[in-house]
Amino acid sequence: MSHGKAVLSLSNIVSGYGSQSIIRNISFDIPESGLVTIIGPNGHGKSTLLRSISGIVRLQSGEIYFEGQRIDGLRIDQIVSRGVVHIPQGDMLFPDMTVHENLLMGASLIRSRNEIAERYGKVFVLFPQLEERKNQVASTLSGGERRMLAIGRGLMTGARILLLDEPSLGLAPVVIEEIYKIIKNLNDGGQTILLVEENVSRAIAISDHIYLLDDGHIAWQGTGEELAGERHLMEVYLGA
């Protein structure tokens, strides 16, 4: 299924909150420069899966490898410093900070001023709207601008893999279109992405590979075209 070597490998992971397991034994690989999407109904562990990879939620069992090294059990900041960058659902911006400060927070781990300036420039090339709002406080941005800032802030960290949690959530269709164009651009430029999405039609159009998450395990996997052919799946799980 996957071309190229695996950047991120999940091996039999089980995780959840307290003694309850939400993710029940999931394994898959994400290839270098791949765009893999997790779809599935709400409340079936999509966000928990991303939170387990980024270390917010501890694994109950299983292993996660990033570029050949085991990362489960590391602290969140250690996982981020390896290049696993999680852009959480609902953006989680720093509301009272300016766009500029939010972006600088993304560069917290980077010591070189030149590198910060370079990435800063790249974010503004990607999102020219943000440059206009540079000195505006994040809480005054529109929904689309917030999403752009969340993605831009994530890119400032120097992600080797981006974990994107529902980038279309709460946005108008035109803005979703724009955000997805940018996600596709990033991926075309070689950025490895693990996408979690409720908005199936958008996601399948740009994904290399899709996993359907149901009740904590993978119920189906395949390409976007294959999924479109699975009328039964589309109806039962995705209400399409």
Partner: protein
């Protein structure tokens, strides 16, 4: 006329002391959600350490103050290593930490009591003399306190506003999980904020002890006032706390001057009640619980 200048001078001095101790309390609460009940004992400890540095070690006063601030910061660090470190991310953090820091305060207070005794001591740090215009007298001591507090508050503001550390502290206050996802080690932020809070508490204790005397329980009153100021300003709102500290200092001194000393504190409490009826989230607070 002379009376009013006297009120202004005393009010600004009291406000300056309130401001430093309030900023310490507010910073620790705003960034860490730690309501530091040890603040009062840390204040007292700061005053006593400066006293020891001058009287027993014979250090020059500026160095004694630096020593006291460093030791004060270390007390904040001790609070992190002995207590708070074990509670981060656990259920009931905010409540547990109130009880735990209160326990820390009792230990610290009794340590001071054991080492120095309950009898009030005179703080050797201070300036003699002052300016006289006719009947009005402005002691150098008061001027120094206002200046020191101003410099400190500007420094804290600068730290928060422009440095990477300051940004991390504000980020932690606004969204802790997102801060961690930026690669910030949250436990380091906790430690640094408690170090800064401890240092500020020590300075505030030295300032206070130069106007009154050293006593093991001397910190409770300013801690209570700092709580009141924080409540009025909106807990964790540093800039609001600053303004409130000076306004309330002036208010308290005015009431004491006009109606008598015993009415100062009740008047302050009345103001809190009115402020909370008017704006329950604090005069400078926002409806949402965003801090710093």
């Amino acid at each position: 006329m002379d009376g009013w200048i006297q009120i202004l001078v005393s009010g600004l001095t009291v406000g300056a002391m309130y401001a430093v101790s309030t900023v310490s309390l507010s910073l620790v609460w705003g960034a860490l959600n730690v309501l530091n009940m040890g603040q009062g004992a840390m204040l007292a400890a700061g005053g006593y350490i400066a006293y020891t540095a001058v009287m027993s070690l014979g250090l020059p006063i500026p160095i004694a103050i630096v020593v006291a601030v460093i030791v004060g910061a270390l007390i904040g660090g001790a609070m992190y290593f002995l207590i708070i470190r074990f509670m981060i991310g656990k259920e009931g953090f905010e409540t547990n930490v109130i009880v735990a820091t209160f326990g820390f305060a009792l230990i610290l207070e009794n340590l001071v009591l054991r080492l120095y005794g309950a009898y009030p001591l005179r703080q050797p740090i201070g300036l003699e003399g002052g300016w006289y215009f006719g009947a009005t007298h402005i002691p150098y001591q008061n001027m120094l306190l206002v200046v020191v507090s101003g410099v400190l508050l500007v420094a804290v503001g600068y730290l928060l506003k422009t440095t990477q550390l300051g940004r991390s502290i504000r980020a932690t206050a606004q969204n802790r999980e997102a801060t961690e996802l930026m690669g910030i080690r949250i436990s380091r932020v906790f430690l640094l904020v408690l170090l800064i809070g401890g240092g500020l508490a020590a300075i505030s204790g030295i300032m206070l002890s130069t106007l009154t005397t050293l006593a093991p329980t001397m910190g409770y009153d300013p801690m209570l006032k700092a709580f009141i100021i924080c409540v009025i300003a909106g807990l964790g709102n540093i800039y609001g706390a600053l303004i409130s500290a000076f306004v309330l200092g002036l208010f308290e001194v005015s009431i004491q001057f006009i109606f008598g000393v015993r009415f100062g504190f009740p008047a302050l409490l009345l103001l809190v009640i009115l402020a909370l009826v008017w704006r329950p989230y604090g005069v400078f607070g926002k409806r949402k619980t965003e801090r710093l």
